[in-house]
Amino acid sequence: MNKVQFEQLDETLYQEKLPNGLQVYILPKKGFSKTFATFTTKYGSIDNHFVPLGEEQPIKVPDGIAHFLEHKMFEKEEGDIFQQFSKQGAAANAFTSFTRTAYLFSATGQIQENVETLLDFVQSPYFTEKTVEKEKGIIAQEITMYDDQPDWRLYFGIIENLYKNHPVKIDIAGTVESIQEITAEHLYTCYNTFYHPSNMVLFIVGAVDPDSMMEFVRQNQGQKTFDEPEEIVRIYPEEPMEAAIKQRTLEMSVQKPKVFVGIKPEKLDLSGSEMLKHELSAQLAYELLFGRTSDFYHNAYESDWIDESYSFDYSLENGFGYALIGSDTNEPETLAHEVLETVRKAKEKWPFGQDDLDRVRRKKIGFFLRALNSPEYIANQFTRYAFNDMNLFDVVPMLEEIEVADLQEAFQSVSDESQQSIFSIIPPKKESE
């Protein structure tokens, strides 16, 4: 077991890679009574085209299958696994993102039992045609619920605008139609390909003793047999650099219009410290341009182009990413125009210097330290970073290293006009007056 100390942060991380390939991380938290654990596979909604384990030819699977599989993991021949967690005083849950499927629990007691339940239920698939059919009604209601949420539609609307071929444009849960095609056989194929321990990370954080917990996990995994790990072949389509659709509007039941401006990054093949540096630099650049201390924000708030729903974000994964800026607004056109003007001007002449960088850097360091109070943040973010060959605890040292020129460079690669797009949601027009 490796032990890494982060002195400035006052944290110690324990790590071990088990013989079956599973990466295990344990982070004890002083003074906490709860333990939070996530068991995550590097498999999300974008992995819909791949070579199944032990086969030669790639296959395409129905939209929404990773999420469907996540739901079905909880049902076993002997019943629902939620019941087991509840008996052990644990609140369990799971989520599927573009790139990951995570199973998790939090509890203040019976931690070993709960870790055992977590490992065992995710490692013992049980799918039948009957249970798969039964789930379709539940997921159809989940999809319908999201269909009625304008902020979710806005988010997916802009991603659909930005991406022409990449599966990030497909809704994580699929559609009511696409999930009808899913069979138990599909689920086994996906499970066998992506749930091998070598494609997974276990992260345990909280009131936990690292030595005994690591030994417990070792034993649990040692009792099970798995095939030799194989490289997973995932196929992603060619994606042009420019945005697929420049502008689109959707009518929905909202009280006032909503708009998102999206910008697609140029560099989509980064990983490790290069990715960390780029992501943080671009986030700092966008913070300076669109954060609450920016001229843009001040002007937009005073002019009533934005309200409290205003948000901006930059996020990057391998193969896709986006900068998003938007708000509920009575003037969607003006707001989108002003956002793009701000980008154009900064591209023409970079307006920020060392003092600006120092300020947003301090803000970001503070945010990070605050986030380290949250076991959920640590486990989820650490896993996301690990899947991209980054280390969450490198964030502060990397922030301290970043220079003004890095911000400028990162911004330049997420700013070109051809990479921009606008998506709006507007209230339905009155039928008759």
Binding site: K34, E142, S253, Q255, R292, H298, E308, G366, R370
Partner: protein, 424 residues
Amino acid sequence: MFHTRNIAKGVNVHVNETTQFKTINFSVKFKDKLTKEKASARSILANVLQHSNEVYPSHTALRMVLDDLYGTSLYIDSTKRGNEHIVSLNVETVNDQYLSEEGVLEKVMNLMYIVLFKPNLENGLFKESVFTREKNAVKQRIESIFDEKTRYAQQRMLDLALPDHPASIPANGTIEEVEKVTNQQLMDEYRAMLETNEVEIYAVGDIQSETIASFIEDYFHFKDREKAIDAPALELTKPKQPRVAEYEDMKQGKLHMTFFSPVTFKDEKFPVMQLMNGVLGGYAHSKLFVNIREKESMAYYVSSSYASQFGLLFILAGIDSKLEEKAVTLILEQVEEMKKGNITDVELDQTKALLTNQLKEALDSARGQIDIYDQYTELFDPFEPEQMINQWREVTKEQLAEVAQKLSLEMTYFLSGKEDEPNE
């Protein structure tokens, strides 16, 4: 957990000295009576104070200082509990120990003083442009509820079921009342907040209790104030219509049900009611989840929640709009099971375990400590989590059935797509 010091009549400082967190958290809570008028005015006030003051007149100037203080978070919000309206200044800052800089804490406390006591005034009133803008911001916040159909449906049901009752008054007030607020009224509310409201000040982190208390005494100058008269019992009046259906442009059907219960927060049966709600619909092992979602595949979410301050129990489900009748029948069957006491030992034990876990977990965040302490001090003074946990431990199935039998369904509200609307 917290050490309490009374610094003036009606003003308390509660400090938890702990090294559990990397940050220091403050919360200054001003408590007043909840009315539509007050909630509306005080929500504008919260925004005005948060966005502008004498030292940092623009929002940008204030945010720059906060960024410089390692992204210290500072916001003022409006919440409610029972018939109390609470304006809270919430601040979180990084403990100096993790920084290469000292003196951050002192600067942050000074900033709290400026935000509360040095408003941006013009001829004895709040600066007009700030007042107008923030009034508008609160109005837009209230309007935006419409976009979230679950929240909107819940608010519509409350408005219809219990009009003008504290249960239905939104913490941010109403659009009509926000529009009516004048700058002078806002100033009156501001004075009342500082001079007559009960004030509870919380601090959590690696700090000295004395430092905090003496800072507050030196700077905040809170004078004695009369304790607000104890809340009268909140009478629930039967809704005029037992069933209401409304229609908007949407796909899912939102089913919301209101039940009355005689058991409220201060009732000795309060812990029994919490468990009753948990077994019925609080968790993934609960009757509603197991039967409506897992067995019938009818819903993605279906749950119950207990508003203990008022003695209200809500059941919410997102369903296919054509299945309303079936869903109501199935839900009422589960309520009936509770009334009959058809509850297994496992169901009861699971619920006890999860309630206990939830309480302990909440105490693993500074904000959770403050919220729980502020709420439960009414029941136990000083509050210790074990007291609550011990009470739950002793509850029996028979007691659950007993409180379930006193539930009465008072309103069913259904919001669904316009295509479901009957043609007149």
